[in-house]
């Protein structure tokens, strides 16, 4: 990670860049786009699926998926809101994703909340109503069962996921630098 990293290029027509610097692949499946908020400078890669149409039952506008800045949704990752019974009726609940979150390729995420500086490796399955606090690492191919709470500064792995390690105190700076660096390297082919 540094100034000499190679640039990740894409063909200009394949991604849409918004005013706030979000880069969204045209080949991503985004249902219910009016219910999805991107904080800016986030990247949604090819083949990912975001289900903004699975909203709460009450009338009016609802935010289904909210995402902070410098986030990355990898190729083929699926983000869908979790649903459960509440007072005898079924409803979906919103997904809140903070800043500096990297979600790897092929992940299935049905979490309720993902804190800032979280890195989810490729092929993970994050179950319904999982809460991931700030600064955590989910190693590739981890399966987190429904309702797991991942504390700060922890590393998780396995099926079912367990804590395997802790993170150093400097991890916040490392992760923020990594996310900014990735965003800067992800640009159209000249």
């Amino acid at each position: 990670m540094g100034a000499f990293d190679t640039v990740i290029t894409y063909d200009k027509g394949t991604h849409i860049e918004t005013d706030t610097g979000n880069k969204v692949s045209r080949k991503a499946t985004i249902a219910g786009a009016t219910n999805i908020i991107l904080g800016g400078k986030s990247i949604i890669q090819t083949g990912s699926i975001l289900r903004g149409d699975l909203r709460r039952s009450t009338a009016g506008q609802h935010v289904v998926i909210s995402m902070g800045r410098y986030c990355l949704i990898g190729e083929g990752a699926i983000i869908r809101p979790p649903g459960k019974m509440y007072k005898g009726a079924f409803t979906f609940y919103p997904v809140r994703i903070s800043d500096f979150v990297h979600i790897g390729a092929g992940c299935i995420v049905e979490a309720a909340q993902i804190g800032s500086g979280v890195e989810i490796g490729k092929g993970c399955i994050i179950g319904k109503f999982v809460i991931i606090k700030d600064l955590a690492v989910i190693l590739p191919n981890t399966v987190l069962p429904e309702g797991t709470v991942v504390p700060s500064m922890s590393v998780w792995s396995g099926n079912p996921g367990r804590i395997v390690d802790t993170l150093p105190e400097t991890y916040q700076e490392t992760m923020e630098a990594k996310c900014k660096n990735y965003y800067q390297r992800f640009r159209p082919a000249a």
Partner: protein, 176 residues
């Protein structure tokens, strides 16, 4: 594999079923009442036909394949979650297929079974090769090693009620 051998697409969907855009349906498929098929799901009747019963939910990137020549019969109230891959020749009622599980063509699934997230269901290695195993009702497949155990059926009524409400709600919410 030659594509030309695939049978022509013939889909019979019940009037109360809900099939989203962007799904891949191939071959002879019958879909029962109240079924919800989410976008990006694939139902491929490459060999024999596929018959899906009432009130099933088929989520994103689920792949249901029938390579054999017999009818693949799927019962009522099954829930296929994101990314599961199903090749079983027969599936009973009220089964749950959690995200990214795989059910091979060598196992017949009965009723009220659960395949956990990321598990792979294969016939027991102690059986002679090329026999089809029948999974007993209430079996749960779980964990990294795809172990088996039997569910005692607690919370079954609540689970079924949840399914019913879930389908009802999906039908209301998903844009037509």
């Amino acid at each position: 594999m030659s594509r030309s051998a695939a049978p022509p697409t013939r889909i019979t969907a019940h009037s109360t079923s809900l099939i989203c855009q962007d799904v891949d349906l191939r071959g002879d498929i019958t879909i029962g009442p109240g079924v919800v098929v989410h976008p990006k799901a694939s139902i491929l009747a490459l060999g024999g036909p596929i018959v899906i019963g009432a009130e099933c939910v088929i989520e994103e990137t689920v792949i249901i394949v029938n390579r054999g020549t017999e009818i693949m019969k799927i019962g009522d109230g099954n829930h296929f979650m994101v990314g599961s891959r199903i090749e079983s020749p027969s599936i009973g009622d009220h089964n749950t297929f959690q995200p990214r599980c795989k059910a091979s063509s060598g196992v017949i699934i009965t009723d009220n079974c659960t395949l956990g997230a990321g598990t792979i269901l294969l016939p027991l290695p102690t059986l002679p090769p090329n026999t089809t195993e029948t999974l007993p009702p209430y079996t749960v497949i779980f964990g990294a090693d795809s172990d088996r155990r039997i569910w005692d059926g607690s919370g079954e009524v609540a689970e079924k009620a949840l399914r019913g409400k879930h389908i009802e709600y999906l039908r209301e919410v998903i844009p037509k």
